[in-house]
């Protein structure tokens, strides 16, 4: 193992964007037949560093060696020519094209395009590594994980043997993640060099052979995965010791706040998304919602917030004095004025809740512009609020007048959650609040949610990470195919049981 030659050596790589230093004299070695995990917080320069390898950015200073030869990579095409391919977090695929058409896109060759020939080659690659891609299927018909496979095949089709994956598991279900990991291990065993950018500790431990850590754009160190542990990696990543336990205070004086009975929702095509769902969310308590993605979590939250037409059932809001208010039939605005607040973080982060081209202040105003009598909207209060959110949640932004879409993903989420919490809700609905966030930011969000809980807010937390759900939530509602598979106590439940309930109604009942 000692005489292994590095496939890629990066030396003293520096990249600045205006005044911000994204990478500062970074050293990195990538070997063939090895999976390297590139670890770091949001904004620590992982993606920037890899973008320089894949030709999207050009380093200001430093050298890159591929197979011992110094190279300069000026475009994605030049990167491909060197065998470097990157799978971006946001897929670069044309929706109306088939998989094969996307895979062959941009390649030189005979003028007439023989798509059947391409499809044959694609199938061969799929078989070699174990992908499940139908070359003739259109991208818009595919699930996220299928799209990701197309992206990987696309890179392999171009003959890449150094693959970079930017947070590949952020949008996958646990099962899809397992499948991806199997394929990645397969590719490693066939001698490819693989880099995955991530900030999920257990993935690093499960998958990688070696881990390299970046902090604030600088290289902190690298080590073999088996010689380290999550605590050490986290400390290196954050720069100081971090407690990895999530706090879970006992709920204080829980009272029913939202009672859902027999809720049934169909989507526009008539498919049942929620089937006879009943539960109660208590004040001062966190109700977790677990389930494989697309099992009705989104519809559930939207139904409570008044955004989703409902077929049957009732949703009651219970006031402090015991009065009950039927939410069905109310418009979203009046539901909001009851104190029901929805902070939904969709896959693309900007789809719901924030307007990308508006700055932080204006996004704060989206919630408050109706307040006050004056003809002219009040901008001072939202500006103060924006400044407060930036300060308290440590949002990394040049200022409150920066358009939200220029912020990195994690910071966008902080702004969204921060705004929702600031409206002093009585019910806080959050979905995927920590999706794509690094450990430090995630813990900050958990902390915020806990604070809301202590204030007596009824929190509904839709999450993906079972470990977190089990540590954070007081009770967990498990959805399976739109039905309630069970409601378990967060303190006693085991990960395995909940996992079983996610895949089968009632969980282990049939065993």
């Amino acid at each position: 193992m000692d005489n292994k030659v590095a496939a890629v050596k990066m030396r003293d790589i520096t990249k600045t964007f205006g005044a911000t230093v994204a990478n500062d004299k970074v050293w990195l070695d990538i070997y063939r037949g090895e999976i390297l995990a590139l670890l770091g917080e949001n904004g620590s320069g992982k993606t920037t560093l890899m973008n320089m390898l894949s030709g999207i950015y050009f380093p200001d200073k430093g050298q890159i060696f591929v197979d011992g030869r110094e190279v300069s990579i000026r475009s994605p095409k030049e990167a491909f020519d060197l065998g470097i391919g990157m799978i971006h977090q946001h897929f670069k695929l044309v929706d109306v094209f088939s998989a094969a058409e996307n895979i062959v896109l941009g390649l030189k060759g005979s003028g007439r395009l023989d798509i059947d020939e391409v499809a044959k080659n694609v199938k061969a690659i799929c078989e070699e590594y174990g992908f499940e891609v139908d070359p003739y299927q259109k991208i818009y018909d595919m699930s996220v994980s299928q799209k990701q496979q197309v992206e990987i095949v696309k890179v392999l089709y171009r003959g890449a043997d150094i693959l970079i994956l930017d947070e590949p598991t952020a949008v996958l279900t646990p099962q899809e993640t397992d499948k991806l990991f199997a394929v990645l291990r397969n590719m490693r065993d066939l001698g490819k060099a693989i880099v995955i950018i991530t900030h999920k500790m257990h993935e690093v431990e499960e998958l990688s052979d070696r881990v390299a850590i970046l902090r604030h754009g600088s290289f902190v160190g690298d080590m073999l995965t088996k010689t380290t542990n999550a605590q050490e990696m986290t400390n290196m990543m954050v720069g100081h010791a971090v407690v990895l336990d999530i706090d879970r205070p006992e709920p204080k004086d829980p009272k029913p706040r939202i009672r859902v009975e027999g809720l049934t929702v169909r989507d526009i095509e008539g498919v049942v998304k929620l089937d006879n769902v009943s539960f109660t969310a208590n004040s001062g308590e966190i109700l977790g919602v677990a389930g494989i993605s697309g099992c009705g979590q989104k519809e559930l939250l939207e139904a409570i917030a008044g955004l989703q037409p409902i077929e049957s059932g009732s949703i009651k809001y219970i006031c402090d004095d015991g009065r009950e208010d039927e939410l069905i039939g109310k418009d979203p605005l009046s539901i909001q004025s009851l104190g029901v607040s929805l902070s939904f973080v969709p896959e693309d982060r900007l789809g719901m809740g924030l307007v990308g081209s508006m700055d932080l202040t204006d996004n704060m105003m989206l919630r408050s512009f109706r307040r006050g009598r004056s003809l002219i909207a009040d901008r001072k209060t939202p500006k103060k609020l924006a400044e407060k959110v930036v300060e308290e949640l440590e949002v990394n932004t040049p200022g409150v007048s920066t358009p939200v879409r220029r912020l990195s993903g994690g910071n966008v989420q902080k702004v969204l959650v921060g705004r929702e919490i600031s409206s002093a809700p009585t019910v806080l609905l959050t979905a995927y609040a920590v999706r794509g966030l690094d450990i430090n930011s995630s813990y900050m969000i958990y902390d915020l949610i806990n604070k809301q809980k202590e204030k007596g807010v009824a929190v509904v937390y839709v999450g993906e990470d079972l470990d977190v759900l089990l540590e954070l939530c007081d009770r967990i509602l498990v959805l399976c195919g739109g039905k309630v598979s069970g409601i378990v106590d967060g303190r006693g439940a085991s990960k395995r049981d909940v996992g079983m309930m996610m895949t089968r109604l009632g969980g282990a009942a049939n065993e």
Binding site: I56, S75, P76, K77, F80, H88, K92, L93, V94, D95, V96, F97, E101, N102, V104, L105, G106, L107, K108, G109, S110, G111, R112, L113, K138, Y140, R405, R406
Partner: protein, 330 residues
Amino acid sequence: MFDIVGFIPRAVVQSIPLLYGSTGETITEKAGNLNLGIPGIMYVGGISGVIGAFLYEQSCKGASMNGFLAVAIPMLFCLVGSLLMGLLYCLLTVTLRANQNVTGLAMTTFGVGFGNFFGGSLIKLTGSDMPSITLSQTSLFFSRKLPFAERLGWFGKIFLSYGFLAYLAIVIAFVCAYILKRTRTGLHLRAVGENPATADAAGINITRHKYIATCAGSMIAGLGGLYYVMDYACGIWSNDAFGDRGWLAIALVIFTLWRPNVSVFASILFGGLYILYLFMPTGTNLAVKELYKMLPYVVTILVLIAVSMRRKKENHPPESLGVAYFREDR
């Protein structure tokens, strides 16, 4: 009895300018450029051809004209004129990233004004009493038919009674359809129109594809203007006679769901609907005539409704149609 044999050829000659316009616009739109300047570009194509023909006819001064030059010179003028318009549009929208709708509408206004200005000047130069220029000699070359077409009865009348530009239009439409669907270039072009960021990452030169598609599209559309003057109107140019054919061509693009091969037939349908009022039974109220002229647009709206109800992704306009691409924009 409805005169089919009389109706079809008239519908076809009516359809050819629309076919040129829609083929040109289709490949432009496939590259993501919504060129609403097409009516103006067709207008410029027409007047440029007229200028070319006028200069050549003047230089011959009654001497017999060379058939090849009589066709080649107006065509060259027409292509150069519409190419310049296409380049201008690209410069504004691709390089300078101006709003495509505004630019296109301005180009149409400009093109019509340009045509009317030079049309008016030429009319002044010829000093004729009528407000039009007659280039009947050049027109003869353009509208020359196959010599044996006359002898073939209804068959000849329906299929062989047109000038060469009509057949060229159909050939171009089918070739464009083939390129878009079956070749690498077509795939790249469509990718540029659907998702330029993806195409860019795949190493496709966005700017070059947009320029080439738009300029080629403009030149094809320009030929529609040339056909209109030289063949359909028998070489008589009068200001504003071209009418709303440019807009009809754009409607045709939507009607055919961005498929030039469908456009070959759809344009004949449009052409037929456009002149249907001429075949109304005599004695009908003349006001109804204007309603008949509405038909092509009504049909387009119906198609749009049908398509949006079926919601099939392939039938949608290119996804980034009308959006300028800038790599560093997030």
